[in-house]
Point group: C3
Chain length 247, copies 3
């Protein structure tokens, strides 16, 4: 059972964040809020979303697992206007989720959860380098790298306390360096890993809207991005596996 | 013979309204103004346009029938700026229509009217349900339905005095309800008919600009949309045949 | 050797002007500034660019010839923001040009100049008709002509001191006339030549930004467009061969 209202923009950003990686997911609902965790089909990237009950205007729920067609949900939410209030309703035992906003009422049949991959267990990796920066700065760097390459290296120069990103094309390369005063915060540690821009581009579009993104990196380790929604009541986490650096 | 000047925007909206359904038409010119009526190639939708002489800044004409390449006219009018004054000139017995706006002079050879389908006779159908609403609200509903289906049902709930639209996808459906206080006016009557979104989408883009659109509907009957141009001196009417509702 | 800083927007406009015709060029650098001159692969159009040292914030250089991949440079410069200051650095004897802007550092390996076509000798043609007009007016005329044809005639009516452009489609034609009071200046002379819109469209996009463009035309002769960058410290010239008018 779910009976809740939420700012349309907040819910749309949540769904967009998940839609960057997967087309369907298991949404877990209980008294404390909703959450999901999903891995892309190639097992390279993971997204986890938590929307606490405080992210909602009103919230009432009993534990349940919902099969959501994320791609379809995204296109429907695209019709909502900024400022709309969205009502979510799922009756006890029902397989139809009702969404209402403005004068619209939208009803979607839930997917059978058994046809959707189980939630992955988020790996417990400690990543020593931590950087807090504006989402828009991160997104710009990803776009810049994409002009000349399909890979990007993210790292930290421990001595200069600088976060760097680097991309190499056939005859050119680009480097972005952000020192302590251009970052919100930095916890320096030796770090440098290479990532596929294919995944980062989609994540970058979502993160561009975040005021603050935390990036956690290591040496040839995954990168973890963390950012908030709804003034801290919602949390999104991306985890992306590294690529092996060619000799 | 035609010698007239008109606000470029008004003329562009008129041509756009016709261009939503056909690529060429017969334009009837006389002392009282210009008008056309045309049916799409599949005989599913009809558009009729009337621009009275009051819609023009200056107007002088003798009765004549002009063969207009609507698609080409639309692309030419796209070059005009808002606020431009457009001059239309067709000399007695000439086959070249001259359009001037700004420092531009555009001359187009008229089509042979005999190669263009004759004007249809607008069917005299009485449609009992009548709804006046903002063009933008109608256009939004059409866009929303298009996300999940290729058909839309338009109807009136007589008891609640509510105008509704409904679309069904494979696993979901969407419903929009507009009560008396969200409408400009409503004349309730039992009404519900199904329409192809293919046609409605093109009409919707044109109607989105209208402050008020009247929609007339019945039970498994065509829908008629009526709206004005040029502060009431111009009238546009769309008529769209219903689709049979599948069991 | 080159060590210079320049307003990012000025440099981007310079590269865009060259990119409208060629994908690579020889850039000549010396104490007085940088310049290039290049012809498109079909030998129909020529661009020449001069950026005097006054166009730069700081400038220091020793004579050198640089092989530039214009297309790649254009995509990189697209990442810069308005107001950015761009640093150009080429060490003595190096083949890597360093560009820095904001927190980005971009390094590009220069092309071997011997693989790039030699600079053409700009032909010394005297074109009698001269017209000064807003770049945006010229660009609009080119766009309007493009709607109905693939060729445009540019000319001057000596008696009425009018600059005209004309394009003919199969059944229609368009004519734009700009008299002395709609132009910045005109030096009338009999002139009328026909040009391919393919080339003019790309040039038009660049010239649209110029406050003043001088167009020099003759009878069945090339057209020359001249305009400035960086408050007169930069000069761009396009030369386009005429097409033969079909009978």
């Amino acid at each position: 059972m779910l009976k809740a209202t939420i700012d349309a923009e907040t819910f749309r950003e949540s769904i967009d964040a998940v839609a960057a990686l997967v087309t369907e997911c298991r949404l877990h609902v209980d008294e404390t809020g909703i959450r999901t965790c999903a891995v892309d089909t190639a097992n390279v990237a993971m997204v986890s979303l938590e929307l606490g009950k405080d992210a909602f205007e009103t919230y009432e729920a009993a534990p349940e697992e919902l099969g959501i067609d994320i791609a379809k949900m995204k296109s429907i939410l695209g019709m909502m206007s900024k400022g709309d209030l969205l009502s979510l309703n799922l009756a006890e035992g029902s397989h139809k989720l009702e969404l209402s906003f403005g004068s619209y009422q939208y009803s979607v049949t839930l997917l059978d959860v058994n046809t959707i991959r189980k939630d992955p267990s988020p790996p417990a990796i400690e990543l020593p380098g931590k950087v807090d920066l504006q989402g828009s700065a991160l997104s710009s760097a990803i776009k810049a790298a994409d002009v000349i390459s399909d890979k990007i290296a993210l790292g930290i120069d421990e001595k200069t306390e600088t976060f760097f990103m680097m991309a190499e094309g056939d005859t050119d390369h680009i480097r972005l360096e952000l020192g302590r005063d251009q970052l919100i915060d930095i916890q320096p540690a030796e770090a440098r890993s290479l990532f596929s821009l294919d995944y980062l581009k989609d994540m970058g579009k979502v993160m561009a809207r975040a005021e603050k993104v935390r990036a956690e990196i290591g040496v040839d380790h995954p990168v973890r991005f963390l950012f908030d929604l709804a003034e801290g009541s919602g949390h999104i986490q991306y985890l992306l596996a590294p690529r092996i650096e060619a000799e």
